[in-house]
Amino acid sequence: MLSQGAAKKVTIYVNEDVHLHGDSLWDAILRFLRNKHVAGATVLRPVAGFGAHGTVHSSAGEIHAGHMPMRIEFIDTAEKVDEVLPTLYEMVIDGLVEVQDTNIVKAVARGGKQEAHLPHAEIKGPAKLIRIYLGESDKLKGEPLFEAIVKRLMMMEVAGATVYRGILGYGAKRHQHKETVFRLSKDCPIMISVVDRANRVDEIMGAVAPMMVDGLIVISDVEVHRFVHALPEQQKVTNVS
């Protein structure tokens, strides 16, 4: 499973009718990548193209000829790419291999292979609880501010955030936020609570505070007792500092 951050993207161009040991080259490459446990690979069949031989191959004229360009791409860590590249270099007897630096923003997998069910792990340790107070009608570029803040926190991979909607209150602007009889008021006080490691507080503050116009942020020391399912190996050590 890939994680957020720097990675390499490899693109390979070959012809559909190039064969290697009796197999289509693109198929052989795909199987090789799978055997090497590359995170994922995609084979694309374009509409048209031309290459070293200078002939335009298009789907219109070549359905039967099977001489279309094929594009295989995959993204993985630099180490993985270094591992598979020498073999790919050898395999691509007619075509082109390209490597570029890329940045993974999000990589998630739903379902798929079930991890072995580990017993519940408990993470204990000191952490910080940040409470952010704002108004429900506060907006950032037309979007409710609390939503914008939660999205931002999610992108920063902050451990977790919860939004509470108050029923009554007042604050910096001295006007009263109040819930109406039918509980449909659109200007109630909002409190977002965030728990994360102490060393992330400044980073979180630096991201959230500039988004707010007026408001209050309160930080307090807490003790975390976190129960988690099947914790990925690499996170086990460093989750709470």
Partner: protein, 116 residues
């Protein structure tokens, strides 16, 4: 970048059903805070809970009886000034005080898109 100053967080736990002087207690508390010049107060309604009387507080169609938490962040002096007043008003319930660090965000009119 943002100045963190020490402050205290006062949390009051009581029921939505509690009343003071003919008005819901949480409204009375907000009014008292205003009168004493407390910087702000936020009243949150919980989904369900129980407390002193071991009676479950939850939403019923006619009787609003959910748990209420009022949170106030202020300086130690102002909290000390407010506490005796609150104690008089709170019949049953709980008061929790914790030390916190506070950051006042005042980006002011830099962004025009603010709530009216």
């Amino acid at each position: 970048m943002y100045l963190r100053q020490p402050a205290r967080l006062l949390r009051l736990h009581f029921s939505e059903r509690d009343r003071y002087d003919g008005v819901p207690l949480y409204e009375a508390i907000v009014a008292t805070c205003r009168k004493l010049g407390i910087a702000g107060v936020t009243v949150l309604r919980g989904m369900q809970g129980y407390g002193e009387s071991a009676e479950l507080h939850k939403h019923r169609i006619l009787a609003h009886d959910q748990p209420i938490t009022a949170a106030i962040v202020e300086s130690t002096e102002n909290i000390d000034r407010l506490l005796p007043e609150i104690e008089k008003m709170l019949d049953t319930g709980m008061i929790a005080i914790s030390d916190v660090e506070m950051v006042r965000v005042r980006n002011g009119d830099a962004q025009p898109e603010t709530a009216a």
